[in-house]
Symmetry: C2
Subunit: 340 residues, 2 copies
């Protein structure tokens, strides 16, 4: 197994840097060839080192950061002023060849702007995309992109997203010809705006892409398609609306079982089932959205992620490093898009 060096920006999340401590310990115990460079304030670095058992200390080095990117800071401002921030340091480490990839739970907009500026996009890719894996009805997972890296996007961008999503699914899950679909308001050819219809035509003509046409919002979770492509505005809202209704359902189950002693008792009996269901749907294990299309691996962990969720985000970064996702996307883009 190759040696993997991962930069982690542990500052800037909603729960503070400590949420990463146990995740880092756990992942270091799991992956013997892993070295982590932690980008953090002096205090957080010291506390992390105190927290880690002696046996793991040599597997972690630190970069002390003079700045932290605030969750509310505008991306353009962060890009200009936050050159000494933990986020920027983590990206610079990749750029300089000192790390294979990075994880950050900070300000998404700032991370995307900085990553784009520092790492640059791959040849043939105009914009990076944020992509995540979601559960479906058939126990296959589905990749949804873009989740908000770009708000406005045209047909060419959607085609690039489709190719990138297909490569990611192919490489990470060994699916030979991932089924790719375009998110639309209907499955008929006449539906959608001109950008979508144009993208549909481009995707139909793209060689080496298993494009199956349009799907609607509910099809994301039906398990019949491997990659669902949409613009960042729609993708972000589809994802969050789904999170919202899932929370609502869980809340309903909880409040229904708390109505009286009888229902409370039944509720206790239900617990093992709910736990099983929760484990499969557990948002923690889906934490870590990949920012793909860049010359480096960047994983965005949810700002409000738990320690468990941070662990999954780090694992995702390691998995992408091990299979060299950017190289694979580069090869595919060169073959399918740039040679035509």
């Amino acid at each position: 197994m190759q040696k993997v060096t991962l930069a982690i920006d542990i500052m800037g999340g909603d729960r503070g840097p400590h949420i990463f401590f146990s995740a880092i310990k756990r992942v270091l115990l799991d992956f013997k060839n892993l070295h982590i460079i932690v980008c953090a304030s002096q205090q957080a670095s010291d506390e992390l080192m105190q927290f880690l058992p002696d046996i793991l200390k040599s597997k972690v080095s630190t970069r002390v950061s003079a700045q932290i990117v605030d969750m509310e800071m505008r991306p353009a401002l962060a890009l200009r002023k936050m050159t000494q921030s933990s986020m920027r340091q983590a990206l610079d480490l990749i750029k300089q060849g000192d790390a294979h990839g990075c994880v950050s739970c900070g300000n998404t907009g700032a991370l995307m702007a900085m990553a784009h500026y520092v790492l640059k996009t791959l040849p043939g890719i105009s914009r990076p995309a944020l992509v995540s894996s979601l559960p479906t009805m058939t126990h296959n997972k589905v990749l949804l992109l873009d989740l908000g890296a770009s708000i406005n996007c045209d047909a060419e961008n959607l085609l690039q997203y489709a190719v990138m999503g297909s490569v990611l699914k192919q490489s990470c899950e060994a699916i030979k010809a991932p089924k790719v679909a375009l998110l639309n308001v209907g499955e008929e050819d006449i539906k959608g705006n001109s950008d979508i219809q144009h993208a549909d035509a481009l995707l139909k003509n793209a060689e080496g892409l298993n494009y199956i046409g349009y799907v609607e919002g509910d099809d994301i979770f039906a398990g019949q398609v491997d990659v669902v492509v949409t613009d960042g505005f729609t993708g972000n809202i589809a994802l969050k609306a789904s999170e919202g209704i899932a929370k609502l359902l869980m809340h309903e189950i909880k409040s229904t079982t708390q109505q009286n002693v009888m229902t409370l008792l039944f509720g206790k009996l239900m617990l093992p089932f709910l736990k099983k269901i929760y484990q499969r749907m557990n948002p923690d294990q889906y934490n870590g959205a990949s920012l793909i299309g860049l010359r480096g691996i960047v994983i965005k962990s949810h700002g409000n992620a738990t320690a468990d969720a941070c662990y999954y985000a780090i694992k995702k970064a390691i998995a992408e490093i091990e299979i060299s996702v950017p190289d694979r996307i580069k090869t595919k883009i060169e073959k399918e898009l740039l040679e035509q």
Copy 2:
């Protein structure tokens, strides 16, 4: 109570016209002052009349339709060629003053195009919007619009949707100053595209509107806001993605309880809870999206609606007729948008 005359296009749904029979019977028993004009083929009309008990027959009249709008037909073609269809007849009945409103489960695009053409929009409204009521965490319902009446829309359209949604919520649920929000990819001022930012400025300046700013996808179901405004593309996908994940969760619960005899037994014990939860979340009772902004009341029932769901769609039409929704929207638009 005033006499209410409702036109119903019972053709064109996925399940055929019979799905409406028991819904019509039930609603006629509920509402003594209701008269229904059924627009249908000769055969469906005859079968409905045979189905109804004698006591209700006088409360139903029929218009025999020579055409049915196909689910796949392009809206423009339906508008041009389907002038003798059950859908068109139902709309014409409103236009001629013979019905107070209509319900149809047919081709959504065709219904919107025809309704727009036949009934016209209210003064100050450029486009109708499709709006539906959804469950939330706090047992308040939330109105989401537009759900797909228009694919592209600008800031002015979003402002009109906001005013219409606010009036609908105010009139149907007696909420004095409904909280209105704009759907976006973040709550900060800097988020979203230029149309959304422009709409935000317009909404902030609109008098008589309780605008609270941006909300994200998951906030739709949080119950802290009464009306969520978005363009038809995003609204449609947010709604359907939510339906998709809700279906997935229900499916998980079912399959988890069917793993072995023990889980099956527990599953039986769980049934009363699941039923309770299902009743509250039951998509049937949310059936019937209102096409608002027109000079008439048009309710779109889901193409795949059950008999129960058809009943709820008819009830929604009656409720809107009883409080004269178009008149209320007209008054508000004149006061808030046209006088400025």
